[in-house]
Amino acid sequence: MARPRLAVFKFASCDGCQLTLLDCEDELLAIGEKVDIVHFLEASDRAESGPYDIALVEGSITTAHDAERIQEVRRQTKFLVTIGACATSGGIQALRNWGDHADFLRAVYASPQYIDSLATSTAIAEHVPVDFELRGCPIDKRQLIEVIRSLATGRRPRTPSHSVCLDCKLRGNVCITVAQGVPCLGPVTQSGCGAICPAYDRGCYGCFGPAAQPNVVSLTTQFQRAGTAVPELVRGLRLFNAAAPEFRRESDRLDSSVERQP
């Protein structure tokens, strides 16, 4: 079988997820043998046109030009994988979806008229069909290797959808919420990182996005009872996966509950 042709594309992002590929130091040369990396601007002058067997897409859609570019990437690609919170849920730049875009532009640029920028930052799946989503801000190296390995051998990649809490148990972390009363988004956040934050004595801030069927309302209600103020909970949900439906719904609900108060 010919080596699959792999391409990496970037949209609005910090480069952290594609860098994860270069951070596979030990496996990098081996990956290079399994797949043919034909387009990866960050790492290579080689920039071949499609068709591609696999495309790793980093970043969210924030300009009219990028909204067109992703259509072209989709047309050229057999198996499209989004890598990271930006591509999968709009990323931190989706915070603009709640703000006044013109005001944001003015805050940063003296002459906003030169800047091509949409009022929203949207996930790739809102524009084109996506075959597989890899979560995280940034993605996890081991999960990325699993995705490339399985796709290279024609298998569908498997990544878990349980919550960070289970990983906490596996890692032997003492629960930071139970022991120290620190709010933690672990119960509603998808596994993938191996429960890093609780291992470092802090609550999870949800960088892998919502786990499968998360009960976000019950968690925030619990935190409110324990004394966390609503605006703090809203800000906590509005981070790197702010626009993921489960987090967005709950942050909006909480936000309007404050507004409704006299």
Binding site: F11, D23, E25, L29, A47, I92, A110
Partner: protein, 432 residues
Amino acid sequence: MTDQKRTIRVEALSRVEGEGGLTIHLRDGTVDAVELRIYEPPRFFEAFLRGRAPEEVPDIVARICGICPVAYQMSAVQALERACGVEITPEIRLLRKLLYCGEWIESHSLHMHLLHAPDFLKCESGLKAAETHPDEIRRGLRLKKYGNELLEVLGGRAIHPVNVALGGFYRAPRSEELARLVPCFEWGLQAAIETVRWVAGFSFPDFETDYDFVALTHPDEYAMNEGTIESSRGGSWSADTFETAFEERQVPHSTALQCVRRSTNESYLVGPLARFNLSFDRLSEAARRTAGEIGFAPPCRNPFRSIIARGLEVVHAYEVALTILRSYREPSGCRVEVRPGLGEGCGATEAPRGLLYHRYRIDAAGLVAEAKIVPPTSQNQGGIERDLTAWLPRVLHEPDDEIAHSCERVIRSYDPCISCATHFLRVDWDRR
């Protein structure tokens, strides 16, 4: 002479962090203007930092750049701590320096081996370079890996560390976690020296520019995490007065703002070459010895040779880190309490690719009211354009793709982090 009109497009600049474009205007065979166009879509960090609690800032600003998140975290915590009137302890200061060493090692090793060296080895990528230079590239990847491992132990993970808190760290590393790294760093120090010897043997174009070097300096240290801002043309400023001396301007062709010195209205250079030229004598012993051995001394004004300066900084970072790792004792406290209230503070540190400045104002409710961030690439953007203008006449006789390639080489010596500056480097040729 006949009026020559020609337009050539080269689609993408590769091996840089992010994407940008280059437009070169030629008229009658001479360079009319060079525009480095960064059309990385803006991400508005400064706008949505408003209304955030200061302790959320280190996690958010990390996402400006996946390659140098620590730099963003370090400049931010310093600025915010000043705004809140908080002093950190010597132990925390040392651990922050250690964390920063991890990032210098990881970022510089990546740039040298996977992004920059392929230019000198005349190949398309680090992966290709590994076919002709397997030992050197493997050594580079291992050098990088230990930088990442340090970041993982101390920061929780290499990209977007989770352990940086306002006032210190969420948790101090355990003695045995750091002790485990000592043999790796002993290997790394020697390997980094070998790497400098290797890159010093590359063939460098004979090209010099009269730069205004700007970097942090420190009386006793090769400045990394703190110091006074200094210029090779004279002048020194604290982080608090950065904005009196330097100014960001918007240019129509870029989503990244460009910086100039207010007094001269001219661009300046930040990064490894600036640091090397201003603080050579404060490099670690092994780094100075290695520089002596290869005959590399300041002043160096050749942008292509920045790869040597970077290499020496890897040696330096390995040596400094090794000293800290060897003498590490778990501190009794790893986090000073911070109570945010009305105030303003600035912070400046040396990101791997140059000076990084942050300013925050905190309102009475203890939330961020205003944030300003000046990344290294926006400071270097004007200098890159100037270098290209000076470089182009030497290569204009070459075929178009050669010209484009050599321009990319100039740009890559800067290690521009375009995602920081706000990316898509596409070269448009406009030959008239």
